[in-house]
Symmetry: C2
Subunit: 301 residues, 2 copies
């Protein structure tokens, strides 16, 4: 029998638990608080959040499985022609306190309408370093490529470019960070079965905390100066701009009467804005800005 | 001869200067830095900003006068059917450091297309207290009503409701602050001539720093606790949400290749987000949240 939506939601729910347990180990101090909520129009979720850890200043790992009638807006934005939708996924954003540890985001999602008449998967992992370090970006991209290559050798190059295009801020002419992979509306026309696509999503999800652990360990013991903390908050300000101005998930959630606190758990504890912030020539901040650009081949730099 | 666009831009430019001089007096310490810029597609502006004053932590008073071809997006969003537009205005956002002094916003703008074939004015002043104090809200609204009543007794009630509707955050079910007045697309069908509409805009603009001075003096000497500073940053977070998610001026500016730093001068130095921030029963924070609602008659409470 073909995989059904309840089974997919169950795998994602377990994935959330797996990731939270692992991240608690990575942090070594804080634990997740769990918040179970019900959506009036159908379904609900569990939002797990962590604050003031050794490493993680503010982090959220959210699971949801929601369903209901397809709205006019969904027809336009998701190109759905059905009447009932079902959507489930896991979404993560982690804001570390140390500016030498990057912000990370992961999402895996499954969408179907009219009880499976059509379905697709989407997802990805991307990294937003406060300071871009090319060797760390290379290690990150290599890990993603390794998972992709197990499923389809075309995935990594395709999804890497997709991430470059998606995590881009036209109003700043900057990428959000060093990208990663992003995919959406992927179904069996990819050559993979529904079960394989789910396995790909879960593999990505299970690799996520290990990948982040590597990034954490590369930066967490570096001391942070006042200037670096200030830059961290400026970079967080850009992250807020992306999420509120451009991110489709945030827009879709807020416009479809989603749970605001769960959607906006992606925002950092503190962010700053300075008008025309001066950037010193030859500084690490200038170097980072120069690397916030599309199309960098991080693996073969 | 009828008032032309150059004359209107000149009045607005002088208004910017007047307001900046007055605000420097209100602050008593910091002065404005002036940044003149040119828009590639036509026109330019002068963005004046102030930081780290006695009262004003981050404030901007921007003048611009821009022109160019009418884009497809402008046709949709501004319902323009012409080919060339001209837009000039003064925009202000002030973020004070003391949580007992409110955030304030003012904008006056003039738009025309095809060399005056059609024109309109828009504008308004609204107040976003970190802590809502009904008596201070009353004084603020009374000042606005007084100016409106000099031109048309229907303006204040109409523009007050318009502000309630405009400065509303559906995803929070909250108003941004205590409103004020907001108007848009007002032309001679209002019963006022072009010259009277310009005088109304300039009257509002000249009253602005006096009105803010009153608000500043009511709060600036109150001590601020750590808790109140934390709440200030949370309220600033909501302000960021409004400006990036809902504000039409911000959207229009960013999507029409406006000058990003001038558009986003409205964002505060520091803002915070806390997941499901607990609000103590009976606290001042709870009282403020209960007053962030449409339709309060602040004058006759």
């Amino acid at each position: 029998m073909e995989l059904n939506k309840e089974q997919i939601a169950e795998r994602f729910k377990n994935l959330q638990q797996y990731i939270c347990d692992y991240l608690e180990g990575v942090d070594g101090k804080a634990t997740f608080n769990s918040d179970v909520w019900v959506r009036e129009a159908g379904g609900g979720g569990r939002t797990n959040t962590m604050t003031d850890g050794n490493v993680i200043e503010k982090g959220g790992v959210a699971f949801s499985a929601v369903f209901g009638p397809v709205s006019e807006q969904m027809k336009t934005s998701l190109l759905v022609d059905g009447t009932e939708f079902f959507a489930t996924g896991v979404s993560i954003v982690i804001h570390p306190s140390n500016p030498h540890v990057p912000i990370i985001h992961m999402n895996v999602r499954y969408f179907e309408y009219d009880n499976g008449k059509r379905y697709w998967f989407g997802g990805g992992i991307d990294l937003t370093p406060h300071y871009v370090v090319p060797e760390q970006a290379k290690s990150f991209h290599l890990s993603l490529k390794e998972i992709c290559d197990k499923y389809n050798s075309e995935f990594y190059p395709k999804f890497k470019n997709w991430a470059d295009d998606y995590f881009f801020q036209p109003h700043r002419n900057e990428t959000r960070g060093i990208g990663g992979i992003f995919y959406d509306h992927i179904d069996e026309t990819s050559g993979l079965s529904k079960e394989q696509l789910l396995n790909f999503a879960v593999d990505l999800g299970e690799a996520f905390p290990k990948i982040y652990e590597t990034q954490v360990n590369l930066g967490k013991d570096k001391p942070a100066s006042a200037r670096e903390l200030d830059w961290r908050n400026t970079r967080r300000g850009r992250y807020v701009e992306f999420n509120l101005l451009h991110d489709r998930g945030t827009k879709f959630g807020l416009h479809s009467n989603g749970r605001t606190e769960s959607i906006l758990m992606s925002l950092p504890k503190d962010a700053s804005w300075e008008y025309m912030k001066p950037i010193e020539a030859g500084s690490e901040e200038e170097k980072t800005l120069s690397l916030l650009t599309k199309g960098i081949d991080w693996i073969n730099q």
